[in-house]
């Protein structure tokens, strides 16, 4: 029974962490622009996050060191501080975008003014974090996010050409806009492998006091959780490819995502989609908020953890409160959450190598890992993905420039 509950940790990380506003935006936009052509990138991204989150979870379970400890230990004070600063900027942008997303969905459900809902959303998130035990947050948002499965039904009901869908799993480029294609490939990879997922997950593993005995669970979480997340990405992209591409619709709003379920499934599809987005994006907001606090506390060696009462880890508590307030200011400035999401995902790609290189190094250190150090399989995949990440990190910002954020 305990095991089943613990797998919920994986589901939360999968739905709340994997499918966040970045995945919604990039999968829907990629589908609307290129149909099913980029499905293979989702597979690449999902395998990547499985490889690295398994590694981070293993390091955390065996050595009790979460990701940002490893970053500072291996990269040193200076480079580590650079990694901290860049990851905090990305975290804040992502958090602000998720909060904006929560407010937009609440608006589509209630019709109340957007800005009032931003404040309401922030307050609700703060209260949820403050009063509820972590297990509750996990279950509420994890299971709520499962409503996104409505997009799987929507994708099927839209009768996509399954042959084309299958062909999408084979890497190919069939478009004159090769740069835009590359931009979306980079964005999809970034959205799938966002670093805050592993900051959050590895810290959670340490907080839950996992030991090497839990490594099987860790592997199951990574595999099942992120595969489910990848499955939802597929559903979103296929929905957009079947519905929006033929009509020439370029999705720019959160409402457009929900429309993808409303058209084939009617009112019930619409409500389920909105509820699913609300929980997935709300859960991701909590994840990013905590990731930010974890990172700064771990870098500076402060006490941290949300299993403790807020006063047990005071600077950690202050850190997440400050992040929420900053996110409130950013999103209240009126910046479009969808555009902010795109920036956040692209910048997170640039910061990826600084996160994953130290993890790979530590996972090979037998002083930490003893018999649980990386095997040949984990190292092969780890190295391949490190190369992929480096290429993507170098090309992300130039591509954003050249394509005007995918506008061509």
């Amino acid at each position: 029974m305990r095991k089943i509950f613990q797998i919920a940790l994986g589901i939360l990380a999968a739905i709340g962490g994997f499918v966040d506003i970045g995945d919604l935006v990039f999968n829907i936009e990629a589908g609307a622009q290129f149909g099913y052509q980029l499905l293979w990138v989702v597979v690449v991204g999902v395998v990547g996050i499985i490889v690295y989150s398994e590694m981070c979870g293993r390091v955390a379970a065996v050595s009790k060191r979460p990701v940002f400890d490893a970053i500072r230990e291996r990269l040193g004070f200076g480079v580590g501080l650079g990694a901290l600063a860049s990851s905090q900027v990305v975290n804040l942008m992502t958090l602000a975008a998720e909060v904006g997303g929560v407010a937009l969905v609440l608006q589509l459900l209630s019709g109340l003014p957007y800005r009032a809902l931003i404040v309401l959303g922030i307050v609700a998130l703060a209260v949820v974090i403050w009063v509820s035990p972590f297990e509750w947050i996990e279950r509420i948002f994890g299971y709520g996010g499962l409503a996104l499965l409505v997009f799987a039904v929507a994708a099927i009901k839209l009768h996509p050409n399954w042959g084309d869908v299958a062909y999408g799993l084979v890497p190919h480029v069939d478009t004159p806009d090769k740069l835009v294609y590359a931009y979306f490939a980079v964005g999809l990879l970034g959205a799938a492998m966002t670093p805050y997922e592993v900051y959050f997950y590895s810290s959670g593993v340490v907080e839950e006091g996992w030991t090497p005995k839990d490594l099987g669970l860790n592997r199951a979480n990574a595999l099942i959780g992120y595969s489910l997340g990848g499955f939802l990405s597929f559903a979103l992209m296929i929905t957009a490819g079947a519905l929006f591409l033929p009509l020439g619709i370029e999705p720019e709003f959160i409402g457009t995502v929900a429309l993808g379920a409303q058209v084939p499934l009617g009112q019930i599809g619409l409500i389920l989609a909105l509820v699913g987005i609300l929980f997935a994006v709300g859960g991701a907001a909590i994840d990013t908020c905590f990731s930010g606090a974890y990172n700064v506390a771990q870098y500076f060696g402060w006490e941290w953890g949300k299993y403790r009462r807020p006063a047990g880890a005071p600077r950690f508590t202050v850190a997440w409160v400050v992040l929420l307030v900053l996110a409130l200011l950013v999103i209240m400035s009126g910046i479009d959450p969808v555009m902010l999401t795109e920036y956040a995902v692209i910048f997170s790609v640039v910061a990826l190598p600084l996160t994953y290189l130290p993890v790979l190094l530590v996972a090979n250190d037998r002083a930490y890992m003893r018999s649980h150090a990386n095997g040949r399989l984990a190292n092969t995949f780890g190295l391949i993905y490190l190369v992929v990440i480096l290429v993507v990190a170098v090309s992300a910002i130039p591509l954003m420039f050249l394509t005007h954020q995918g506008q061509g």
């Binding site: 291996r74 190094l361 090979n364 250190d365 002083a367």
Partner: protein, 89 residues
């Protein structure tokens, strides 16, 4: 003297030939003390600083890029001077 004073400074022989930089200090941990036994120098030393092939990394790749402390003539933040003929490979 602090560890950070020595990290990354240049290592020269008494006759002035550079043999690289101090990437790390090797030490010996006993129940009561932590004695410095050598300098990790050279290209492989850099990898060691990142944890590839270090003594703790299990697979000890090589130790001949460590200059024993007995060869050190002078060490401060301006640089480390070692006896002639000392060379890490």
């Amino acid at each position: 003297m602090r560890l950070s004073d020595l990290l990354n400074v240049e290592v020269r022989t008494e006759s002035g030939k550079s043999i690289g930089r101090v990437h790390d200090l090797r030490a010996e941990l006993t129940p009561r003390t932590l004695k410095v036994t050598g300098l990790v120098v050279g290209g492989l030393g850099l990898l060691e600083r990142l944890g590839i092939g270090a003594p703790t990394a299990g697979a000890r790749v090589r130790t001949d890029d460590v200059v024993p402390w007995s060869a050190v003539v002078r060490a401060d933040r301006r640089g480390v001077v070692v006896r002639d003929g000392t060379k890490p490979s």
